[in-house]
């Protein structure tokens, strides 16, 4: 089995991976980083979302070998240096943007990808951007609210 190397959350990692091993499996099983979840087998739910070389990617839609040499960021890499919640994570807690937490890693990664390219998204832009991420618990209300709050917008008006 070939050894696959990449950088995950700033750390160089290396682990054996069968050719058909998905990046999601590599993260969860080969590296034991279980923050990234798996919720479907057709690439529709987004709970597995990570960043690969800065781009939002569904890690179940990519072979581990395709990420050879890449810079990967997962939800485990989203906290501040001191371990406190990062701005997006904090907004999710402040606005009750999660219930069971299973979709949450994907939501946080999707939100962060959006805010990198659009620092003040409208409600419609946030909703459109989340079209690849399913949540069954929240009805999305507080997720949208949290993302808008993380972008520094006053959501009290939008969401009450």
């Amino acid at each position: 089995m070939a050894q696959v190397k990449m950088t995950v959350n700033g750390k160089a990692v290396s682990a054996p991976a069968e050719g058909r091993m998905l990046l999601s499996t590599y993260l969860r099983e080969a590296l034991g980083m279980t923050g990234t979840h798996v919720g479907c087998d057709t690439g529709q739910c987004g709970v597995c979302a990570v960043h690969v070389d800065g781009k939002l990617v569904k890690s179940c839609n990519m072979f581990a070998a395709e990420a050879e040499g890449a810079e990967v960021t997962t939800v485990e890499g989203m906290a501040n240096e001191d371990g406190s919640l990062g701005a997006i994570q904090q907004a999710f807690q402040d606005h009750h943007g999660l219930q069971c937490g299973f979709c949450t890693p994907g939501m946080v990664m999707a939100a962060s990808a959006l805010l990198k390219v659009n620092s003040k998204p409208t409600e419609a832009e946030v909703r459109a951007h989340l079209s690849g991420n399913l949540c069954r618990c929240t009805g999305y209300h507080n997720i949208v609210k949290a993302i808008m709050a993380a972008s520094g917008q006053d959501v009290a008006v939008a969401a009450e």
Binding site: H37, Q99, A124, R136, C137, H141
Partner: protein, 786 residues
């Protein structure tokens, strides 16, 4: 209110681990030496299983062992937890449900063999190499066809595909018919409550583990009620006594009912772990979830409402076919009966009601409770028929509802339940305010100017939560008690641990439950820790479903804490040399009324564990109490919902423009969490109304068995919701006065959406009175062409 106590919108402490990737879901666990399972599942809906050839699979790399139905010949089948007695006094037909199919396969996804291998991939590869010799039989999918003479039988040993024919209240039947004869107006509505797939985002997972040195089995599973699984699987399937079986449900990624039930895969992994003396893990794929997780709803109903000349409701009659699927899932028989028929009075003083339900076996996945379970079905038909009656009579649908509201409590309905409290006028008033119903016509005109049809749908709901008085449900056929338990352990330095039988899979118990104790003792909630989900360290409890956690589990915790406080007061009295009756507890301090004597909470708890100065002759050291709480009645949350839609007349596409919910949940412990529960329920209800629906073809193939074709609601399908729970009529029979809020949104929202779309089309000139869910563009467009 204590700081952060009852009523405070405390942020959730569990969020920290979920937001940082440190959650501990079942699939995140791997056990040393673990092997993996893959099931071989039937691709046909119905067939005679003549043989299973595992020889090729046995030889494949990494295969440890292959199991078939024969391996399970000596163990029990998956039990059903509720027995219904039909209208003739006969008990329901109850088929066997083997862990792995024997003799026949009965739905697509029915497992007939399983491979245990070194890796998940090897297990899957080998499962594909298993050859089943199946003689395909014609499938029954449609419920009415399944009941026709000569229909193929799902279970050959049963007399027919009819599980039961339930009449409720049978004694009222004649009087109901009489009332219909005398009615000034009768409204009849045929409708379908579409079949749904719960689809919690976390698929099911089971890990069986066996310790051959002690003979102990452990099952790690994605369950809403680990104690129930332990009892069902231990006692009825595998014959393992509770003290040799531990069931752990760690972080669980949503359930919505689908993780209540005991599934064959759980029994398989526990059994196989012992058989091969290694941990055995199964992780469901989403495709597998679609064909193995119990589905929800799937009722076909005719409802009739009788009114007198003044538009008072005089009688209600409903006739429902309810799909059970191929086997009886754990609580399936109770859903269309006791959780449905007893709610048919809704918020209205209809004096006479008769409910008939025929439960039917078909070659489809078993159907069981899904968020709301029976109550959404009751609410949908009742609220839809009232709106249709308003159309037929040319009266305002809100006025018609208001006129028939129950206004005096307690109120004994003609369908066996007694509502303790409620104020339906208040929630409707609140709804009119928060939804700005007065401004609707203006908004409708604005939509029209854009070429869109705007519609308004309003309805009420009532639900029965906090299931349930054990003696009552016992009479109704439940094979379990439905109390809840809590052990409250106070540590020497004053912190508390609550071991609860309730289970959190998104509801935020770790945050909300401590608020209750913080309030009672007057301490910071951070001093209280919640332990749940493990039969090894929680008292026997029935778990979380039916919006029961706070009403039943919270009440058990309240009672245990009362015992703690009573004992602590005795200790405090001793320390202060005062009479016990004079001791008061406030703000974490015991004091003696009218004196300056006081002793801190922490001093009393320390004395309990270091009993040097202690009334040892009267009480034992230590401070730990357990309570079991068995509710005296159900709780009855209620509310009024409004939906505004826009319909594009060219395409039939519906968009939700506004959604408002005015709920009465009684007292509220954490309003932020309550809001979230309502949001999520509404999201699922709108999903049912506009998007979702499991579709089987006539051969019993599930046509939309993945997220590619089963339309889950996405962020851009849904609006922001306006929710309000300021109308509060506290429950009268539980100590917290709480009613439950987990299912309301899913119960109240589907009729609001359908009412709104019908209203929009009629405003566009159509005379349509009903469209079946889901209201997809093609259905709406077709309805407009009529």
């Amino acid at each position: 209110m204590a700081d952060g106590g009852i009523g405070a919108p405390n942020k959730r402490r569990e969020d920290i681990r979920f937001l940082t990737g440190k959650g501990n879901y079942t699939d995140d666990m791997n056990k040393r030496g673990q092997a993996y399972v893959a099931f071989a599942r039937s691709q046909v809906a119905h067939g005679t299983l003549k043989g299973v050839d595992t020889s090729a699979a046995q030889e494949m790399p990494g295969v440890v062992r292959v199991f078939t139905g024969a391996d399970f010949a000596e163990v029990g089948g998956i039990p059903c937890g509720w027995q219904i007695t039909d209208k003739h006094g006969e008990v329901m037909q109850e088929p066997a449900h083997p862990v792995l199919a024997q003799g026949k396969v009965r739905h697509v996804g029915d497992a007939f063999a399983a491979v245990v291998a070194e890796t998940a991939e090897q297990a899957r590869d080998a499962a594909e190499a298993i050859e089943a010799d199946i003689d395909e039989l014609p499938a029954v999918v449609d419920m009415k066809a399944a009941l026709a003479d000569g229909a193929p039988k799902v279970h050959d040993d049963l007399t027919s595909n009819l599980c039961y024919d339930w009449g409720f209240v049978e004694e009222n039947k004649g009087a109901v018919e009489e009332a219909f004869k005398n009615a000034a107006h009768v409204t009849t509505l045929d409708l379908v409550n579409n079949r749904l797939v719960a689809n919690p985002m976390e698929p099911r997972v089971a890990i069986g583990d066996y310790d051959s040195s002690s003979g102990d089995s452990t099952l790690f599973t994605t369950s809403q009620n680990p104690h129930v699984i332990r009892l069902l699987m231990g006692a009825f399937v595998l014959g393992i006594p509770e003290h040799k079986l531990r069931v752990v449900a760690p972080d669980v990624g949503g359930g919505f009912g689908s993780k209540i039930f005991h599934y064959a895969e759980e029994a398989f992994c526990t059994f196989a772990a012992k058989a091969i003396d290694r941990p055995v893990k199964w992780t469901s794929s989403r495709s597998e979830a679609f064909i193995t997780d119990a589905h929800g709803r799937d009722h076909v109903t005719t409802i009739q409402l009788a009114l007198d000349k003044d538009n008072n409701f005089t009688a209600l009659r409903t006739d429902t076919h309810a799909n059970m699927g191929a086997y009886l899932s754990t609580f399936a028989p109770s859903v269309p009966t006791w959780l449905h028929g007893t709610l048919m009075a809704g918020n209205y003083k209809t004096p006479l009601i008769y409910v008939n339900v025929k439960a039917v076996f078909t070659n489809t996945v078993p159907v069981d409770a899904y968020r709301g379970a029976g109550r959404p079905e009751a609410t949908y038909q009742l609220e839809r028929v009232i709106s249709k009656a308003a159309l037929e009579l040319g009266v305002d649908p809100i006025a018609l509802r208001r006129q028939n509201f129950i206004t005096e409590f307690p109120y004994a309905t003609p369908v066996a339940v007694e509502y303790d409290t409620g104020d339906y006028v208040a929630t409707m008033d609140k709804l009119e305010e928060i939804a700005d119903l007065a401004g609707f016509e203006k908004r409708a005109a604005a939509s029209k100017a854009k070429g869109k049809l705007r519609g308004l749908g309003v309805n009420c709901y009532i639900e029965a939560c906090g299931i349930a008085p054990s003696n009552l449900v016992g009479q109704l056929g439940a094979r379990a008690g439905l109390y809840e338990s809590a052990t409250v352990r106070v540590n020497a330095t004053g912190g508390l641990v609550v071991m609860t039988g309730s289970h959190s899979h998104g509801q935020g118990h770790e945050t909300a439950f401590p608020q209750v104790i913080a309030e009672m003792i007057g301490i910071d909630p951070s001093m209280v820790e919640i332990v749940h989900g493990d039969t090894a360290n929680t008292p026997m409890g029935m778990g979380t479903y039916g919006s029961r956690s706070l009403a039943v589990g919270g009440s058990a915790m309240f009672k245990a804490t009362e015992k703690i406080i009573a004992k602590a007061k005795k200790i405090a009295a001793h320390l202060m040399e005062a009479a016990e009756g004079d001791v008061e507890l406030a703000n974490g301090e015991f004091s003696v009324a009218g004196t300056d004597k006081s002793v801190a909470w922490g001093d009393v708890t320390l004395a309990a564990y270091v009993p040097h100065n202690y009334p040892l002759e009267d009480i034992e050291p230590g401070l730990e109490e357990t309570a079991f709480y068995d509710p005296a009645n159900f709780t009855y949350p209620s509310g009024a919902y409004a939906c505004e839609v826009e319909v594009d007349p060219d395409t039939g596409k519906v968009t939700i423009e506004a959604f408002a919910a005015a709920d009465d949940f009684g007292n509220i412990v954490n309003p932020m969490i309550v809001d979230g529960q309502v949001h999520g329920g509404i999201g699922q209800g709108i999903g049912q109304a506009l998007l979702e629906g499991a579709v089987y073809d006539e051969d019993g193939q599930l046509l939309n068995g993945s997220f590619m074709d089963y339309a889950m609601p996405r962020a851009d399908d849904l609006p922001f919701y306006t929710v309000d729970h300021s109308c509060q009529t506290p429950c009268t029979h539980n100590p917290l006065g709480v009613k439950g809020c987990g299912e309301a949104g899913a119960i109240g929202s589907p009729p609001a959406v359908v009412n709104a779309v019908v209203d929009a089309l009629r405003r566009g000139g159509s005379d349509i009175t009903h469209i079946d869910m889901p209201l997809t563009p093609s259905r709406v467009w077709a309805a407009m062409q009529k």
